[in-house]
Amino acid sequence: MDDLDLKLIKLTQDGVDLVPDPFKEIALELAIPETEVIDRIEALVERGAIRRFGASIGHRVLGIVANAMCVWNVPDDRVEEVGAVMAGFGEVSHCYERVRCPEWDYNLYAMIHARTREECERTAHDISRATGISEYMILFSEREFKKTGVRI
């Protein structure tokens, strides 16, 4: 990744303009052809610096107001299998294993989004039944202080 790539990311990370030729301004700014802007974005996607180029959705506006971080204590030798089952649930948007801490036994995290807290609870219950993991907590978000996504 070179300086131009960095500038390109900075110029687009807050969203491209909704105009017929959204890459034109960016190309002018970077003093490269429009086609190179597109080639560079594609290359950044290919190399994994950009996960995807597209729309970010405002869940809350669509009524998806319940956001639960569900934390699970899963035996280390079952993490691979249990993580795969959790990831298979449509209501689970993100699923990670994270390090354990002495004060915090939980090691698997599933983000569940739904219209109501009850739906989130039901999903967590279904996951528990499907995996046999019974030690878990549902931590609903009570306030959103920030949600910008990753920026550079």
Binding site: P20, G54, R98, E142, F145, G149
Partner: protein, 152 residues
Amino acid sequence: MIHELELDDTDRQLVNLIQLDFPLDLHPFQTLGDQIGTSEQEVIDHLRRLTDIGVIRRIGPILNTKGLGGVSTLVAMQVPEDAIDRVASWINGFDEVSHNYLRPGAYNIWFTVSASSKERLHEMVGEIEALGYPFLELPVTRLFKIGVKFEV
């Protein structure tokens, strides 16, 4: 914050299409119009309205911290009730913080950090530590799922 949302077929088609398959070409909205059988102007008008009402946050790159050579982590902090607002806005002051939520429990402030390097993350953790509140640092050790698309 649930609005009375009237999404028409064009809105739904566009939202479902442009999360993963935003066309990377010189006239992407023309291409989208061709794909769903409407005009470029019609596509732009719909996308502008969807952006105004918050259904679309932005159309741009969704960045991958690791792919950019950076490091990320999740921090959980125990903050007394009367300090929550102050500490939350102090945390938000870091550009590297992408998400920040209030959740129930002893660890009540949860935020994600995406730093450009290990050194920068270390420096931030040092500043967080200096606040004096107990906290956990919970980096990802395995990734099972990362939300890519939200069907409307």
